[in-house]
């Protein structure tokens, strides 16, 4: 540590350049991780808030709730652990506001999902023309009592409550009654909901026309969800590999330049273990400094970022990414260790 600290202090420009590179890499990793997490959460926040285990859809709906319709006869009798969900994609329109794409979720007020929706203000819908909207609407300037029209429906729906963490497919959710959902979908008599969701892990659809999917399977089949996550995972993985290569290359070059110094220290009786520890310490110190600055930059970004940007700054996950970078630094630092161990002190004798 002594040698590493002294060298970093003396070689300020060189160390600063390496640290600057680590700052950029770590910042990029933190931002991409937060963006990936934010987008993933905005795809599934509403689903996760219901506390469900599985989703039952029409077998022909290709695991897509928007394409699914089911009848009361198909759904059978529901227990207290099951609830109907009616999903419709809508465009919310109101005077003085831009049109807002949203997901309408029709609920039966007597079933558990309607009861799990936590309000930040207002009350639950009491008529078919009342809705509870995600706080994204509140951030757009909507207030309790404001009226919105959904799609081409002439009905004015009154916002009677707001709820947070109500996002699905990266769109804000508007909760209303199942009757309103049927109106928005222009349905003929028959279909009662898009899906049945259940808290019971053993629940199975009673009709052959329906299929029950575990929540994880359903989420992975959300449009674009898996592709988006894989893209981010690939980018973050590549960045990790790039950081490993960059750290290893820089340390290798630095160490190679110092081999004559190491040979002198070996002549003086400095154990090779001290030199190896100095190399690894230098790697960890440089990456540590870069991570601290990268974290500060990320914190500034988190504060400055508008709420509409789908980013989630999860400390344990970001700490994990930082930990991985430290592991990469140690791995990168190990590459030149072989050269340090093989340094020949005799090479500096005899001029």
């Amino acid at each position: 540590m002594f040698l590493a600290l002294k060298e970093i202090r003396k070689e300020k420009l060189r160390s600063s350049l390496i640290i600057a590179m680590i700052v950029l890499i770590s910042y990029l990793i933190f931002i991409l991780t937060s963006l990936a997490l934010g987008l993933a959460r905005q795809n599934t926040a509403a689903l996760n808030s219901w506390g469900i285990d599985n989703v039952t859809l029409n077998a022909n709906a290709n695991v897509d709730m928007r394409q699914s319709l089911l009848t009361k006869a198909q759904a059978g009798t529901l227990s207290a652990d099951e609830a109907y969900i009616g999903q419709a994609s809508v465009v919310a329109k109101a005077k003085g506001h831009d049109n807002e794409s949203a997901v309408f979720i029709g609920l039966d007020a007597t079933q558990f999902v309607a009861k799990t929706v936590k309000l930040t203000s207002g009350h639950r819908p009491q008529t078919a023309h009342q809705v509870v909207a995600d706080t994204a609407f509140e951030q757009e300037g909507y207030k309790l009592g404001d009226k919105v029209k959904l799609n081409a429906d002439k009905t004015a729906y009154t916002i009677v409550g707001f709820t947070d963490n109500a996002k699905m497919n990266i769109a804000p959710v508007i909760y209303g009654k199942l009757a309103a959902w049927r109106t928005l979908k222009n349905l003929m008599p028959g279909p009662i909901a898009s899906a049945v969701v259940s808290k019971d892990a053993d629940y199975k659809a009673s009709s052959d026309a329906l299929t029950t999917y575990k929540l994880k399977t359903f989420i992975n089949k959300l449009p674009g969800y898996s592709a988006q996550n894989m893209t981010f995972e690939l980018m973050i993985g590549f960045l990790m590999v790039i950081s490993l290569i960059v750290i290893a290359v820089f340390l290798y070059i630095l160490t190679m330049q110092k081999l004559p110094n190491y040979a002198v220290m070996r002549v003086q009786g400095v154990p090779s273990g001290v030199l190896v520890r100095a190399t690894l310490a230098q790697s960890v110190l440089l990456v540590g400094a870069g991570l601290v600055l990268g974290t500060l930059l990320t914190v500034v970004t988190a504060v400055a970022m508008p709420a509409s940007v789908p980013m989630a700054f999860d400390v344990p996950i970001l700490a994990g990414a930082a930990g991985l970078l430290v592991v990469m630094a140690l791995l990168g630092g190990l590459i030149p260790v072989r050269a340090v161990l093989r340094v020949d002190p005799v090479s500096v004798i005899g001029g």
Binding site: K6, K10, N261, V267, V346, V348, I349
Partner: protein, 225 residues
């Protein structure tokens, strides 16, 4: 009593047609309080002698005894410890660590060898003797060649070794400075009771030596007492 002795040392490099015998039956002894000079032309085996005397190379044949301890009987780690405690090296190009101040060059020794180093007072005396007491905060790049050499000597003496091995310490120096370095090495040997062994091709150092040996084609012979 000799603090450093080489007994019938042979050193052979390579095998078969590439076999080269660099040292032939070399015996040598250095006592405390003496300056011994090993002179000879380039390629005569002086550097190999120094690496063997310093425990950096195990001889093909023969024995090396440092402060009563045989090198051969020791593990590489124990040899490192013996070298750290008993032998100080002054290398031709000084080789001070560029990112350590003069002060830190000594601090590094403290971190590796926890005890037996010069006390603060003794170090101050040594730095005064070498005329470098005012350079403690300087980096090697800020020192002149002569200052670097004196710092290298101080660093070599800081662990209070019984033996000081110097490799061509006057290689790049002009006449007057050779006299200064010669006198300094002789003083260190006499006043600090060190066995100073200097390997050089510089005959200008001969007047300062207590004993002079000549290395010719790997054979060592005493030429002056």
């Amino acid at each position: 009593m000799a603090v450093l002795s080489l007994e019938h040392v042979d050193q052979i490099f390579g095998q078969g047609s590439a076999r080269v015998q660099v040292l032939h039956d070399v015996s040598f002894a250095a006592e405390a309080g003496t300056l011994s000079l090993i002179v000879g032309p380039s390629g005569s085996g002086k550097s190999t002698f120094l690496t063997i005397a310093g425990g950096l190379l195990t001889p093909t044949k023969g024995a090396v005894v440092v402060a009563g301890n045989s090198y051969q009987a020791r593990s590489p780690k124990a040899r490192e410890q013996l070298r750290l405690g008993s032998i100080g090296f002054v290398l031709q190009a000084y080789h001070l660590l560029p990112y350590l101040t003069v002060e830190d060059q000594f601090a590094l020794v403290d971190r590796i060898k926890k005890s037996g180093n010069l006390s603060h007072t003794e170090l101050t005396d040594l730095l005064d003797q070498l005329g470098i007491a005012n350079l403690l905060k300087k980096y090697p790049a800020e020192l002149s060649g002569g200052q670097k050499q004196r710092v290298a000597i101080a660093r070599a003496l800081y662990p209070d070794p019984a033996i000081l091995l110097a490799d061509e310490p006057t290689a790049a120096l002009d006449g007057p400075r050779v006299q200064v370095v010669g006198k300094l090495l002789a003083d260190l040997a006499h006043t600090r009771q060190k066995a100073v062994v200097v390997v050089t091709h510089d005959a200008r150092l001969i007047p300062f030596a207590d004993a002079v040996f000549e290395m010719t084609d790997g054979r060592l012979s005493r030429v002056q007492q």
